[in-house]
């Protein structure tokens, strides 16, 4: 680290850059800049263009992701601080595609609501840029920069309905909590840096792992870093911002926060745990065990009492974060044999969480898309206003049922496979703690069905409250979002091999030891 600075003092030479590996980020950056320029030059006339341009940018960034995946060679830059491997690529693809769906959901909402449009998409792309960086970040500094890059635009997006008090509250709460979390995390990072002398995760791993207990400084560092990310992924007890922010923010932004932003937090957490702290499972395992069990149980229990569907989905999101955290609670370098081939427990946990993230993105975005479509008619997100939906919007009812039951993990809808991978990862090490958490997951899925199923019953069984049987008009882009998410949800459920193949990734190999 210091050697680099010393060299820079004499004659600075740019480290070699693998342009191919960096191109998804560069394309997004270019399109983001272009959006801003168009806004400055064309002002109001640009409004018609921006949504389309943003979608094109997101899809264009997918091209290098695919070519890199076909190439298959893990690439590393900046002394190992920026790594492009299969894991990074699948996560990049998830971020780009889910944001594409968010853009589809935003198109009508933002233009009809008479909000600032050009800036909206500019900020959205900036936030995704941060997420893409996060997937490749293997260094404390790049992780922190990526985290801020993805968070700060999200704070502003939450307040996009600026004349609405709730939206202001949402953004303010999110901002204050987020900044607090960042500070805690940064402190943790400084402790880790202090005890290892490097910001590179692989270096930290060498320094902190080993026989004998960890020093108090390392323990504190790990706890603070994990807690910082726990805010981001809205794990209990650091979830309190989520319901208020979700309720107040514009619905497409809520969808974005609940899927992409949460996944961003998970990616950062996984990078640090798998690459930097894997040897210290004695510290993080119990911590994550508690976070996971608490998130599921509290999230599901509180969701039972919700009367607003967005708040219900927020608490369901807290519970889902618990499911996704669960495999990380058994994370270790131990080896088990599966199907004749030996795998490291860590790889299995990673594959489980990544699979769940991919499926969760599709089903949760879908659920929010239906919420938006229904709100176009009812102007409400109260669960009671979903009564009798089947009578006037049978198609939306079927879709909502698909998404909710998928979230509940009912086969043959996608969610079951995610949950299955989580349970598999928990049972495979054969430890009592892992099996106990598996039972917690299983019992929680039953509790969760109560509130998902209750909404389904309201939609299918009850009478329309005001007798208003007008159809719901679903604009084309929202319909496209619904189509994409529902097809993906069903496809993952019936042919889990599709996603299973891509999410069978490893972080330990990619880093080169």
């Amino acid at each position: 680290m210091f050697a680099v600075f010393a060299m820079a003092g004499e004659h600075f030479s740019r480290p070699p850059i693998d342009w191919h590996a960096a191109s998804p980020e560069l394309i997004l950056l270019g399109v983001g800049v272009l959006l801003t320029v168009i806004d400055i030059v064309w002002k109001e006339r640009a409004r018609a263009l921006v949504a389309g341009l943003a979608s094109v940018g997101l899809l264009a960034a997918m091209i290098p992701v695919i070519t890199l995946a076909v190439d298959g060679e893990p690439r590393s830059m900046f002394g190992g601080a920026f790594v492009v491997d299969d894991y990074a690529l699948i996560m990049k693809a998830i971020f780009l595609l889910s944001t594409y769906v968010v853009v589809l959901m935003s198109t009508n909402y933002i233009s009809e609501g008479d909000y600032w449009e050009n800036e909206y998409y500019g900020l959205l792309l900036t936030s995704v840029l941060g997420m893409l960086l996060m997937t490749s970040a293997r260094d404390l500094i790049s992780i922190f920069v990526a985290l801020e890059l993805l968070s700060i635009p999200a704070y502003m997006l939450s307040t996009w309905r600026k004349r609405d008090l709730k939206s202001n509250e949402a953004g303010m709460k999110y901002y204050l909590m987020g900044v607090f979390a960042s500070a805690v995390m940064l402190y943790g990072m400084s402790l880790l840096y202090g005890s290892s002398g490097t910001t590179l995760l692989s270096g930290i791993n060498e320094a902190v792992s080993g026989s004998g207990g960890p020093s108090a400084v390392v323990t504190l560092g790990i706890v603070f870093v994990v807690v910082g990310f726990a805010f981001k992924v809205s794990a209990v007890p650091f979830h309190t911002w989520a319901p208020d922010t979700y309720e107040g923010a514009p619905t497409p932004v809520t969808a974005f926060l609940s899927v992409a932003s949460k996944a961003g937090g998970f990616v950062g957490l996984m990078n640090i745990l798998f690459v930097g702290l894997i040897g210290r499972d004695d510290v993080y395992q119990p911590l994550i065990w508690i976070l996971a069990a608490a998130s599921m149980t509290v999230g599901n229990t509180v969701a039972l009492r919700q009367t607003n569907i967005v708040r219900m989905l927020a608490y369901s999101g807290v519970a889902q974060a618990g499911y996704m955290l669960a495999p990380l609670a058994v994370l270790s370098t131990d080896v088990v044999t599966t199907g004749g081939a030996t795998t490291i427990v860590a790889d299995q946990a990673l594959a489980a969480t990544v699979t769940y993230l991919a499926i969760y993105a599709a089903m949760n975005l879908g659920a929010f898309a239906v919420v938006m479509a229904v709100a176009r008619k009812t102007r409400s997100a109260e669960i009671d206003d979903y009564r009798g939906l089947f009578r006037y919007a049978p198609g939306l009812t079927v879709l909502m049922t698909v998404f909710l039951f998928s979230l509940a993990g009912i086969p043959p809808l996608g969610g079951w496979f995610g949950k299955f991978r989580v349970l598999e990862a928990l049972i495979s090490p054969g430890t009592a703690w892992g099996s106990a958490l598996a039972v917690v997951v299983a019992v929680n899925s039953v509790v969760a069905f109560y509130y998902y199923g209750r909404v389904a019953v309201k939609m299918w069984v009850e009478e329309v409250p005001d007798g208003n049987m007008d159809r719901v008009s679903v604009p084309a882009s929202l319909a496209a979002a619904l189509a994409i998410t529902s097809v993906v949800t069903l496809a993952f459920g019936v042919g889990p091999g599709l996603i299973g193949h891509f999410t069978q990734v490893s972080l330990l190999v990619g880093v080169g030891g």
């Binding site: 594959a351 009912i410 598999e424 049972i427 099996s435 039972v439 299983a442």
Partner: protein
């Protein structure tokens, strides 16, 4: 043609109902006749395919899986698309594909409120896919998938087309079953990781039910086996339902529309007992021996409790629902003996209960339609007002109470008899005590069924309904839907060998791991615990 059938026939019976459902989705809702015709046609094609497969089936080798398909499915978790048919599956598969078209025929003029034949029939077909798939799946994950697919259509059938309390009943049904299947899945996963190849001692890491049956729990510590079996016990037990998990059943049956009740009674409950026969006991025989006395205990509690419950009911449908608890108790008692005789009796009991109780729910549905009530105290004199309906109720009640010459007898009597000599390693005293209690249960069964018949069919019609023009006798749709069931109830009553001959080789085969030992299952136990 025969080759094609033998290769793809089983896959076809899973997917034909789905294709029918997909076609119906494309047709607008107002074309009600078209929906009914397509649904009926689809279910008849499925029935035809199963009949063709049953003709091709080699009955001399009924213990071996036939028409096996084994294809890659989810490679990352080592789960495969494996399906096959043997003597245990055949009777249940045949029952399923027979009941579905009958239910569709019955629905011709009986789409329950709030209508919408399209959605109702599509759900019936999806249900058929799930039930058929469960009975022929040979991979635990595939089995689990079909087992769960059944839940959704039944949930909506109760929730949308059910009675007054349908919201409560549908959620209760779903939550109970989901709780069971969540634990069951954990059990499956534990088996996946722990089961070993008995010959080499290498880890199996497979969901293949054939391999796991062969392995029969070898290499798994006894205490762990008990836990895994316990998880499956709850999973399958909720579905059966075994006492104390049975409380969802009366609510679900009472609130479900007639068609839902029929399918629930005729097929869905059998998914649980089938799970015991096919998965829980053969894959963990050692744990099963430890659990068996307890299974037998809850089975006889179920018999007596169900019967006493019946005596206390005032609603005809609820009474039939409680009689299901009692009858499934006999099936579970037979299963708990872990003998081929008991298993054969259990399968016979499952088929007989499916035919008879399915029929009872049909009759209850028709009574409800005519009298607009199922309150037993308000009914009466059916033999005068609707004599044919009254006589049918009579025959079916006799069948249900186990009158010799009708199918119910062969479901009940061998089950009781099997408890006389349970498998080696099980306490004879305990099981003979159960046998006596179960025999008392048959007396109670005669009591509540005859009492029901006396109150509803005999005597004079009550003043309330005496001149009601709605009360007509059995109509054409009902005859069409009911005749096959009535004929089979009599045929199986006279010729029990029709089923016993098919199931026996398969049952012997699946219990082989116990039977090939000189002392039965005990020697497996001793070998495993090293004592």
């Amino acid at each position: 043609m025969t080759d094609f059938l033998n290769t793809w026939g089983l896959t076809a019976i899973i997917f034909v109902p789905l294709i029918g459902a997909a076609v119906m989705m494309l047709i607008p809702e107002r074309e009600e006749e078209a929906h009914k015709q397509i649904a009926l046609l689809t279910s008849l094609v499925t029935l035809g395919l199963v009949a063709a497969l049953m003709i091709d089936f080699d009955y001399d080798d009924a213990g071996t899986l036939q028409f096996v398909q084994d294809k890659g499915w989810i490679d990352v978790i080592n789960s495969r698309y494996i399906i096959g048919l043997d003597g245990i599956s055949i009777p249940l598969l045949a029952l399923t594909v027979l009941v579905v078209p009958l239910v569709i025929i019955y629905s011709w003029h009986h789409i329950p409120n709030p209508g919408n034949a399209k959605a109702f029939l599509i759900l019936n077909l999806i249900l058929e896919t799930g039930m058929v798939g469960t009975f022929i799946a040979q991979d635990l994950i595939l089995f689990f998938l079909f087992f769960e697919v059944v839940l959704l259509p039944m949930f909506f059938m109760i929730a949308v087309w059910g009675g007054e309390d349908r919201r409560y009943a549908s959620l209760k049904f779903f939550l109970y079953t989901l709780f069971g299947s969540a634990l069951m899945l954990l059990g499956f996963l534990a088996l996946f990781f722990l089961a070993q190849d008995p010959a080499t001692g290498a880890a199996l890491h497979s969901f293949d039910m054939r391999l796991l049956t062969e392995s029969a729990g070898s290499g798994i510590v006894h205490s762990t086996q008990l836990w895994i079996f316990g998880a499956m016990f709850i999973g399958f037990g909720v579905k059966v339902p075994i006492f104390p998990f049975h409380t969802w059943l009366p609510d679900a049956h009472t609130q479900a529309p007639t068609q839902g009740s029929v399918i629930l009674a005729a097929v869905l409950l059998k998914l649980g007992t089938y799970g015991f026969l096919r998965i829980a006991i053969p894959m963990l025989p050692e744990a099963a021996t430890t659990w068996a006395p307890w299974i037998g205990l809850v089975a006889v509690i179920g018999i007596i409790y169900g019967a006493l419950g019946c005596l206390a009911q005032t609603d005809m449908k609820r009474l039939i629902a409680f009689s299901s608890v009692a009858h499934m108790g006999f099936v579970m008692l037979a299963i708990a003996t872990m003998t081929p005789f008991g298993f054969n009796a259990a399968i016979y009991g499952m088929v007989a209960h499916g035919l008879i109780t399915g029929m009872l729910f049909f009759v209850a549905g028709s009574v409800k339609e005519r009298y607009h009530t199922l309150d037993i105290s308000r009914l009466g004199g059916m033999l005068i007002q609707a004599p044919k309906l009254g006589w049918i109720l009579g025959i079916v009640s006799m069948a249900s109470l186990g009158l010799p010459g009708l199918a119910g007898f062969w479901g009940e009597f061998p089950a009781i008899l099997s408890a006389y000599s349970p498998a080696n390693g099980l306490s004879e005293v305990t099981f003979r005590t159960y046998m006596v209690i179960a025999a008392v249960g048959t007396v109670l069964a005669a009591g509540y069924l005859l009492w029901l018949y006396q109150r509803t069919a005999m005597g004079e019609p009550s003043a309330e309904f005496a001149d009601d023009p709605n009360i007509t006798d059995v109509n054409t749709q009902e005859w069409l839907a009911w005749t096959p069931l009535l004929i089979l109830i009599v045929v199986f009553g006279v010729l029990p060998g029709l089923i016993f001959d098919v199931t026996d080789p398969a049952v012997t085969q699946i219990l082989d791991n116990c039977l090939q030992q000189p002392d039965g299952c005990t020697s497996v136990v001793q070998a495993a615990v090293g004592g």
